[in-house]
Amino acid sequence: MVRYGMVIDLDRCVGCAACAVACKAENSVTGSTPEDYKKRRLMEWNRVVTVFKGKYPNVSASIMPLICNHCEHPPCVKVCPVDATYKNEDGIVLQRYERCIGCKYCMVACPYQQRFFNFYDQVEKNKEEHRMEAEKYKTENGEVPVTLLEIPYHNPDVPPRIAGIVEKCTFCRHRLDKAKAEGKKIGSPDGVEPACTQACPAKTRTFGDLDDPDSEVSKLLRSRRNYQLRADLGTEPQVYYLD
């Protein structure tokens, strides 16, 4: 059996947040506006946070990237009333967007705050914002610059999410599917990786099959002390951290 997981080596991590932005671009995750931000509606499938201890001059801090942990016992899956969120046979916690009723139960159930609600439809909203602008910049033959009516950089491999549903990290499932279809190897260091893993300048992240003893993730987990976030909650995260 395949069981995908990730190992994040915090000693390598340089807190650059390249992973976070790469995830946004790869998965066409809605960018916020200052208003969204104030209302705490940031969509960050992948985020980088800092925890501090002590204060100057005896201060230390650690910077950690956080993503969905693809928990072995995912509370979000347990609570979904329509089975929209499910645990795939390869260990990835996925979501059927077309089934989600937007009850947000999974959001309150996830102990890691890794699920995000679409408060509006980005494409529609942008359209509204840009319509007047578009009128101004029509060419003679009626063409409108692409930026003005839609989000031109939407990754065609991932489905757009509509207003009212919840979304989260998919372990870049579309990449893995594509790799499978093309018969490519999956997993770090030389196979297909999720966007954040591939993007990381510090090679902080290692992705692969936890059930394969020869995979890079398994080797790392054997060779160094590792821990999971909030292991006390019994969720069994499949994202592991090394200090």
Binding site: K55, E98, T147, R161
Partner: protein, 850 residues
Amino acid sequence: MALELKINRRSFLKAAGVTGAATFGYLSLNQPVIRALAQGNEAAGEEKWVSSVCIQCPAGCGTKVRVVNGRAVKIEGNPEHPYSNGKLCPKGYAGLQLLYDADRVKSPLKRTNPKKGQDEDPGFMPVTWDEALDDIAARLKKLREEGKSHTVAFLSGRNRGRAGAVWGTFTKLYGTPNNLGHSSICADASKKARMCIDGTDDYCAYDWENCNYVLNFGGSTLEAWRPTNLMLQRWAYMRRGRPVRAKQVMIDTRFSTTAIKADEWLPVRPGADGALALGIAHVILTGGLWDRNFVGDFKTKGRKFVTRETVAKEDFEEIWTSGLVDWWNNVLVNFTPDKAAEITGIPADRITRIAEEFATTKPAIAAGERGAGAHTNGTYNHMAIHALNALVGSMFATGGVMYQMGVPYASLSLKDDDYMDDTAKKADKEFKEHKLERADRAKSDEWPLASNVYQNIPDNHAKGEPYKLSVLFTYYTNPLFSMPNPQRAREAFKDVFIVETSSYLSETALYADYILPDNYYLERWQDDTVYASTGYPVAGLRVPAVKPVYNSRNSMEVIIDLGKRMGGKMGEYYNQLGSFENMLHEISKGFEKTPGDNGVSSFDSWAEKGAWYKKPYLYRFSGGKFYEWDGSGYNKEMKTTEEVKEEEKDGKKVKTTTIKDPVKDKLLKTKSGKFEFRSSKLEGLTDRQKEILKSELKSPEFFAYPHYEEPHFAGKEEGFPLHMSSPKMITHAEGRGANTQWLQERFGVVVGKGWTNWVELNPDKAEELGIRNGDEVWVESPIGKVKTIAVINPGNPPWMVVFPFEHGHWNYGRYAKGLGANPNEIMVNLSAVISAQSCTNATMVKVYRA
């Protein structure tokens, strides 16, 4: 299901994007569709990956752009480019949102409202390229005829690859000395310091891979510096990628990302880096820890320097350095760790320990950037820092420092010198004879060694000294925003005819009389020779990934087009040149002779791979000697040779001896051919120049030495109690880049704040000031105050106020405008002596609740 599977990628995109995803999402977001799309088995749209080079910050990382149906949908690192190695920093990935920014300048614009000001609506009117360029050409021609060609200035920031040469040629042929750059508000202090003591006016390249100990004086390794992305990669490699873990010591006035991740953080007092470096040098010399192969030794073996005891010159034999004993006797002899501790706030025993580690954990690098440099004493700070590399023998050594090699482009067959008409020649001659000054007065007796004095242009113009400017071209720089106290420029430039090339409505663009929008970097051809880092040469190439989204043109092509319209010899030159693309084709012929390691040997292969590079670095210092690469190893010793030539001249035999010193020619380019602890460059200035420079020093007697100059802080005398530093965040590139949602929302990675900047305060200090986390506060300096938000950072030293750069835009599109505050607006314009480095960290402020 049948319905779903029929949807091919093209109609998927269309449906998703245009007809509104609401209905679509409900009907057909079933997994099979996604799978079908992912596999691309249907009539998938055209998909390609185009090579390009990121230009958000000066790193110049190679990228690959995924283009589907003519749209750029993802930017990734180019594995072929040795700076990116398939990776990018966060800004690189966010480039899509810059390309498709709906607020870009969409066509050439002409100003209709002659009045200029922050609140003045320019009344921009779209015009055609022909209209705009003809009008500008006519204006330039007229000024030439009136003998005022020198009042036209070209101000540029990010000149990449040949861009600098394109501007240089234009100014030269037009007849103005004013090809002005922004390097003085950037990081000239470190460059000029090196020029003074080792002869190279450049940033260093560093052999990070092999280095075991890093002493970093205010180089923001993990947030800025250069080349950011590669620094991030190297950092991780030095920590975990190899058997020996390098030690990182970060000297910074704030608890930066680098300080968080480093083994040790030394919270130095602002502007005191030079003192710290001297204290370390003192320990190295008194401890007998200097590198004897590079520096030399006492004639009496085993002898060390002794605190407060001078040394006789003849007792010490130097090898690759000069002036050590003078330096010791004048500067270092009393500069004990205790004295350094007093100035820097770092305990003496810690300084001693760090110095000992640094000198014994080889190879070691002492480096830094604007932290140490952007102070009034910045140039001297960097001289002291760089001197440490010589003391421990890191110059050109494995794991040490070096200088970036140039790219062997073919030179153009067309020589611009041949196309200078009388006006052009006159301007050139007068400038060389010091009869004509530059608008920024660089190269004048006041600033004999500075490359640019960007930050003084507004004052000079306002005073009419040396003269008033009539026309100002701005390329990739935003003087109305990014320089200290930009209000000066906002006042002074009201009567200047400004031609702005930005693709964004920058602050400067609001003052423009014409905006000639440049293509965005994903839309244009441009070469990119990188900033120093690897040592070996690298040249990237931007290939247009998409058609220009709006009616914009590559500024390089525009300036060539403008040249053609100038007529005369100038026009002839540009007609001959044809286009910038031609130019790129021509220079790339150099690769035919020197193919890159990845097989790039022509324009086409360059465009395909996106990067040309040739390893290895050619020089190496080892075991007391310099060697050059001979094709298989560092085997060729770089020895001084004497060549005696006998020639028949006027019937007589003449013997000429030429001494060839390859080390002096190629590596240590000082007068002595040595690393100079006593700068011959400074001592060689004219008396008048020295007099002016010394008059600015508190310790003029040490003028020629790396020494500690007491820094000057604006506002200190007026009783402003807190030091303000204005660093860069990983999420922005100087004054540009505030217009992307993806970067804005995580602007402060460490403090967890988005969509604004803030001031960071120490928790105890904040309590004393009655300020809580998130409060609105005023930050006030002697020249004004701005309002922003307070962030209580437990790591902040009590005397520091950290006020990140980037926000406070009053233009620049919907995602940048009106957020946060611009620290520059309260930053007093100070320049470092010698380098003219503008002092970002030298203003003092007070903070109180708004």
